[in-house]
Symmetry: C2
Subunit: 232 residues, 2 copies
């Protein structure tokens, strides 16, 4: 059996293959950067189910690392932490790792839905043509309302999102990162959500949030990355 030495991340893309907006994939791109691990990305679209069938998956991120194939962002982060113990920890000590699970739960239960209600109707036009109907149908079913209704309520949905972000603002008033003086996976989770929010929105969300934008830049700068990158 041939062993591939390349590390590959299947990464969600839009019509433009450089438009990489998935919050879950962003977590992993930052986690890989945190662990100093080079990788290539493989652009993937929602309807490319066959392309990740080898991993028994129907979605991304999927990481192929030598002979290991890992599916799901949390499983990938856990894998990177246990596989690359000589690199900086993604989570910190056990209590820190446990508290990071709360950040994940808050991001997925509160923040992602609030972002989605604003950006999904705007995002659909940026997707590959073959993905657009799938995305619209699956997401309208998920939020139990139409994109047209969401669009009509954009202003109040933005206000709701800004309320959800209150604890982020409060926290960044007292420290540089969620994890303190340097970013950890908790920051990667939040970055992924906000990167998605900004990339998918027109007009761009958070342009009026200088403190949050400065934090986003600081997360990237920690890893020598720039805001302009579409995939690292």
């Amino acid at each position: 059996m041939e062993r591939t030495t390349k590390r590959k991340l299947y990464d969600l893309a839009g019509a433009d293959e450089n438009f990489r907006f998935s919050p879950y994939c962003w977590r992993i791109k930052l986690a890989l950067a945190h662990k100093n691990l080079p990788y290539e990305t493989v652009p993937w679209r929602f309807t490319d189910k066959e392309a990740v069938a080898f991993a028994d998956s129907i979605k991304v991120p999927v990481l192929v690392d030598g002979n290991n194939t890992i599916v799901d962002s949390q499983a990938i982060a856990d894998y990177l932490e246990s596989e690359y113990t000589n690199e900086a920890s993604l989570f910190g000590d056990p209590p820190s790792r446990a508290l990071t699970r709360f950040i994940k739960a808050w991001a997925e239960d509160a923040l992602h839905p609030a972002i989605g209600r604003v950006v999904m109707p705007e995002l659909v036009a940026k997707l590959a043509p073959q993905d657009q109907a799938y995305f619209r149908e699956s997401r309208e079913a998920m939020v139990k309302t139409s994109f047209a209704t969401l669009s009509a309520a954009r202003e109040e949905n933005v206000a709701a999102l800004k309320r959800v972000l209150n604890p982020v603002r409060t926290t960044l008033h007292v420290q540089h990162f969620l994890a303190g003086s340097a970013p950890s996976y908790a920051d990667h989770i939040l970055y992924g959500a906000l990167r998605w929010a900004r990339m998918a929105s027109t007009p761009r969300l958070l342009d009026d949030e200088p403190e949050i934008l400065a934090w986003m830049d600081a997360v990237l700068a920690t890893y020598g990355l720039e805001d302009g990158i579409q995939s690292a």
Copy 2:
């Protein structure tokens, strides 16, 4: 100057002096238990401003620890952590301590307001007579609506609170405490909020949340406390 050896916590009370419902005071009662520090409580009412004037405060918790007087729950927790280093840490390592600040921000920016909208109209009748007008006026101004309006919307306010609790439920599915295998100050913060929610509500909030109630009991059991206690 005489040095007092008694440790005293000024603790918010209702009409019944054993009705101790303040979420901020509960944080500190659990933090003191976590640090194995015995203490006495001094019941205090909202309008007892003179009773804490010695501490340059107009509210509780106020901790008097020997010659030290500390005001504000966060300052008290920070004091206990730096003063009693031989006891178990309240926060864990620096990233853990930083993530705990996010839990605090989330509790105060999202959870407390959601609880308050349900329980404040019910709580007012349980307060000391001299506190009731103060409480009603100050809290109605805070939430910019009347208690009557909040009461009329109790059902939808309970539903909103339950949505805010989604990340708690998600987290407790994968681990025993917010901080993992044992409670830390992050758990104390959440406990304080939910203890207030239960004590102040009629009918009692969270009776239909067995997983959350089991976690509350487990937090108390860690310190050898029982649910029946009004003050430790």
